[in-house]
Symmetry: C2
Subunit: 467 residues, 2 copies
């Protein structure tokens, strides 16, 4: 079944002439280009165009603008808050064919890439240069999608988020014009920071068609430490102390006891089933050894038991693979169920309290909701395991997520540290941003007066009505 009947006929005709079989309207392909990763209802676009270069993206956006048809950029499809859905229909611009690595400037430690390049492919490509792209959001997302959602992940505590990794962008704006937000200088004070405005704008202000991103030197040595703690609070306090001592964690991840249990079962490990910290340091062999010892001392002061560290790549990979397989491990706790990953971020001083309250709340709602977190940033994920066909469980999960976001905001935190707003977090924006939302809406209206760019995302509905 094709969805194209909902689109203006002349518009369809033009797209077909222009893009031939790179314009698709089949139901399956459209559904696949809506949001598919969570319980958020799939709202497919009416058609998909596979773009091959910036001029084509500009063409599509221009045509959509003329016809008043929404445009939704698509990368790997791994976003988690409904960013890809088409509540008003429209055209999904699939950017996966724009996957060229245009330049690697080794001396400047940057590279210029198209938006469809994935994180893993970029790192494969870079391997011989001694450089790497350090951000690791878990999914093998495209760099364009990572920029659009301000992604981060396990290494953000050292290397920052996409706001830090992107030096400049090329983007197609809603009127079809192509802009460049900057060049290759490492820093600039030349006017408004359009780079950072587009990073995290989730396709609502423009479509990213080229990225210049910072690279890092592959560390000579990496050490990984794991230590178990009696309580989440002890683990949190160890991290706070480490940060205050200036330990440059490259990764510092917390798994609660339930998560550790799931990981043990899934990855055949024998970790003590109490809260666990996984730490990683990058540097020279001497430095990472010293840092691991120091972190060990700090961890012990905070009650750590079963302390262990390694620089053996195989051992390290095994540990981090277990961390990365965590979603599947947790699902294994309840075969046949589905998982929902939600995230909040709070000041680290409130993290233990926040996680403790969350665990209690989940228990009171009879929800299986283990916790894993990028604790160096105060950011954590709740992996809610549920039967999505069970209305009572759905209701409990919704109520829980709402409660958790409220809690994070009450602790001076944010409703999302890294997943973005999309559709799923729109309703929390009012409380979090207050009058700043009016400023966001003014920017959206100024840049996209016809509201064709990914409508129905980020800004609450009352702003949609105005446009």
């Amino acid at each position: 079944m094709s969805r194209e009947s909902t689109l203006p006929k002349a518009f369809v005709q033009t797209l077909r002439e222009r893009f031939a079989d790179r314009f698709q309207t089949g139901a399956a392909i459209c559904a696949q280009h809506g949001s598919t990763t969570t319980w958020i209802e799939n709202q497919p676009p009416d058609g998909v165009v596979f773009a091959e270069n910036t001029a084509e993206v500009a063409d599509i956006v221009g045509l959509c603008g003329e016809a008043g048809v929404p445009v939704i950029p698509f990368g790997a499809g791994s976003s988690l808050e409904g960013q890809l859905n088409a509540p008003r229909g429209g055209i999904s611009v699939d950017l996966t064919r724009m996957d060229r690595i245009l330049a690697v400037n080794a001396e400047d430690m940057d590279c210029v890439i198209q938006p469809g390049v994935t994180r893993s492919r970029l790192n494969d490509y870079l391997r011989d240069t001694g450089l790497f792209f350090p951000l690791d959001p878990g999914a093998d997302a495209t760099l364009g999608g990572m920029a659009a959602t301000r992604a981060s992940g396990t290494t953000a505590v050292l290397y920052g988020t996409m706001k830090d990794a992107v030096l400049s962008l090329e983007a197609v704006m809603p009127d079809g014009r192509v802009i460049r937000t900057g060049h290759r200088a490492r820093k600039s004070a030349a006017g408004y920071d359009l780079t950072r405005l587009l990073v995290g704008s989730e396709g609502t202000l423009g479509i990213i068609t080229e990225l210049t991103v910072r690279l890092r030197g592959i560390p000579e040595a990496v050490s990984a430490a794991r230590c178990s703690f009696p309580t989440v609070e002890d683990a949190s306090n160890a991290v706070i102390s480490g940060l205050q001592f200036g330990l440059p964690f490259a990764r510092i991840e917390l798994l609660d006891a339930t998560t550790v249990k799931a990981v043990n079962a899934h990855s055949q490990l024998n970790l003590p089933e109490t809260p666990l910290l996984l730490a990683e340091f990058h540097g020279t062999p001497d430095t990472v050894a010293e840092l691991s010892v120091r972190f060990g001392d700090i961890a012990r002061e905070h009650g750590a038991t079963a302390l262990d560290w390694t620089t053996d790549p195989q051992e390290r990979t095994r540990l981090w693979k277990a961390r990365h397989d965590l979603f599947w491990a947790v699902l294994g706790l309840r075969p046949g169920a589905k998982g929902i990953s939600t995230d909040v971020c709070v000041p680290i001083s409130r993290l233990a309290e926040c996680i403790g309250a969350a665990a209690e709340k989940a228990q009171s709602l009879r929800l299986l909701a283990p916790i894993a977190g990028h604790v160096g940033d105060g950011n954590f994920h709740n992996l809610i395991v549920l039967d999505p066909e069970n209305p009572a469980e759905r209701a409990a999960a919704k109520s829980y997520i709402g409660w958790l976001n409220e809690l994070a905001l009450s602790m001076e935190g944010t409703c999302t540290g890294e997943h973005g707003v999309g559709q799923g977090k729109r309703s929390y924006m009012e409380r979090e941003m207050g009058p700043a939302l009016d400023v966001m809406a003014a920017i959206k209206a100024a840049i996209d007066p016809k509201n064709i760019m990914n409508p129905g995302k980020i800004l609450p509905e009352r702003f949609e009505a105005q446009s």
Copy 2:
């Protein structure tokens, strides 16, 4: 002589009733609140209000909005590109009395401060906490001013610029509304990045009335290395190699031979009068010792002579004091002359070429224009020493600055790495930003439709005419 006659009478009356002697219109005080640091002509505001809290700032902005009077925020007065001038008159809002440190959250390594707090006062206040605010732009600027101009300085290579240091802001917007761009989470993916939009907006979009900024742990040990090189190119290559090896420079400064000569004379030092690198590492005693040795090895591979490093605080302070006094040292090369500091930033691979060409060009124009740079970022300053009363020298300097900016842009750089645009760099924005300028102008018009916030800055004149 008072300037108030240029302001609407009723407006003056209201300000006088509301602020009494905290509203000043004397010529001296007005001149002091215009730009005073460079050869850019002083264009004083018509009046100055010394604000004491956010509500007062909102009042002033609201009143100015009603009366159509420009508003220019004022911190320490240390900006370099005419940011404080009032080409259309208006009210300077002096924020120096808003200098309270509202909260230090040691566990979260952040603090909440008013915009008038200066960098040195914040660090004095923090001393007993083991934390510090690492950015060091040279001048003892206010944090509000540093955020507004996206300042950085010698430590940006490790700690980033104000775009990285600011977690969130409170700001008074042009309609007098107070917004908060975020809270205290270390990272957030909740909507458009208004924090980064205000950072670097130079008072043209709103007035920053509160900042939440990241702090860092005072490093346990600091080592400083200095090494002399035969050429600027050798020095640049040593820095490139160091960065590629992942050396975490906390500072890495280049002085050209003329600058070294000036510094020797001014600070009674005996540095070899060839290009000099000053490096600094922060960490544990063992780490910084190891890093210094490694950097020494790299420097030697690139022809370094006269290599020396120290962890002795006095020795280190002496060296960095010499670096910080560089402006005065260079002025000492020509007693009675004035100095103009201009900055550009290029990809580091082009730095040696850029600096080499700049030195040649200055010589061909018979300009004394020594160079010092934050080379880890590809950012450098030209300190042009001239007699500002001599029209030929002024013309040569202007021509040189224009040429240098054009060169930086041709090397994929930017017309300003850290001084901002203000009035001085407006004319280069067209070439650097192209159609992105229209997006900046759309944002400016949407947020400040009456163009009352620091008009005549950042955006070229053709956008002013439209508003």
